[in-house]
């Protein structure tokens, strides 16, 4: 029993070391979203391609979707764009949120680089982005057919991210 007490500092040290070691591999830029499990925030915004059309939450319901927050000023969105095109080609339902952008540049971008979005919400003031807790594009939300946010990914989606983190989740939502 007395011996055991002398081991205590070692045990404490190992415990703390384990925590700190794990900390080395955590990405502090990755914030857990406060919105997981919550419904997609209500909005009423025009579509990027059809200014006269007003989109709302109801337009997102019915089938699972990848809601991708993008902008033409966002450099890494350009890197992500071809991947989204490929996903759209494979039949993934992608909805865009054009975040704090100039609509003319957005239209030009979609024309030049191909349009992977089924719908594109024009959030010029960033109000929807704020409600979504967006802090840097690109950010992507996975929503289910009832419009509930199920997952959030911050950063550029590439083939690997899709394969390892998103594909299975999206499939799960389709199968629900």
């Amino acid at each position: 029993m007395k011996r055991a007490i002398f081991l205590l500092p070692l045990v404490l040290f190992l415990g703390i070391a384990a925590f700190l070691y794990r900390g080395l591999f955590l990405d502090p830029a990755e914030l857990p979203s406060a919105l997981i499990g919550k419904p997609f925030p209500a909005f009423s915004l025009p579509a990027v391609e059809q200014p006269e059309r007003t989109l709302g939450v109801a337009d997102l319901q019915g089938r699972p979707a990848l809601v991708n927050v993008w902008a033409t000023w966002c450099v890494s969105c350009k890197v992500e764009h071809p991947v989204l095109n490929e996903l759209a080609r494979r039949g993934v339902n992608i909805v865009g949120v054009n975040y704090k952008d100039d609509n003319a540049s957005a239209l030009k971008w979609l024309k030049e680089f191909h349009n992977p979005y089924q719908l594109n919400i024009r959030d010029e003031q960033g109000s929807l982005g704020l409600d979504l807790g967006v802090y840097g594009a690109p950010e992507t939300f996975l929503i289910d057919r009832h419009g509930i946010i199920r997952h959030k990914f911050v950063g550029v989606i590439d083939e690997r991210v899709w394969r390892e983190q998103l594909a299975a989740r999206y499939q799960e939502l389709l199968d629900e």
């Binding site: 502090p28 914030l31 406060a34 704090k100 960033g126 409600d131 807790g133 802090y135």
Partner: protein
Amino acid sequence: MRALIRAALLGLALSMTAHAAIDTYEFKSDAERERYRGLIEELRCPKCQNQNIADSDAPIAMDLRREIYRMLGEGQSDEQIVDYLVARYGDFVRYKPPLDARTMLLWYGPAGLLAIGFGVLAMILVRRRRSVATSASNTLSPAERERLATLLDKKDP
């Protein structure tokens, strides 16, 4: 020369305390301005971590400052404003995390460790005092004293 250096140092010190971001918001009263200052200093910028939204120049910090200004103008309470941001960005945006089951360790951990330290210290002190007390009562019996004397005599002729 010395005055010049002093002035330069003063300027440097002042520039370090000055806030990076400058907005031109008009407030109804000084109290409201104070609340605004308090809020933006206590809320953390989600993009540029380790900066509050008062100091950050990131567009998101600018948006949040504008939003806070708007909500203050609408007469919302500090609590409502903080809750509004926490609902969107999570507890991360608060430099002062709320006290709940998950943050117990954070709030009470250091005090707990200190208490454990004092506990160990007290234990050691009590034990030491006890051993001193027992050794004091363990004085030599007359027979032992005699034997000690002979032993010492032998060694030291």
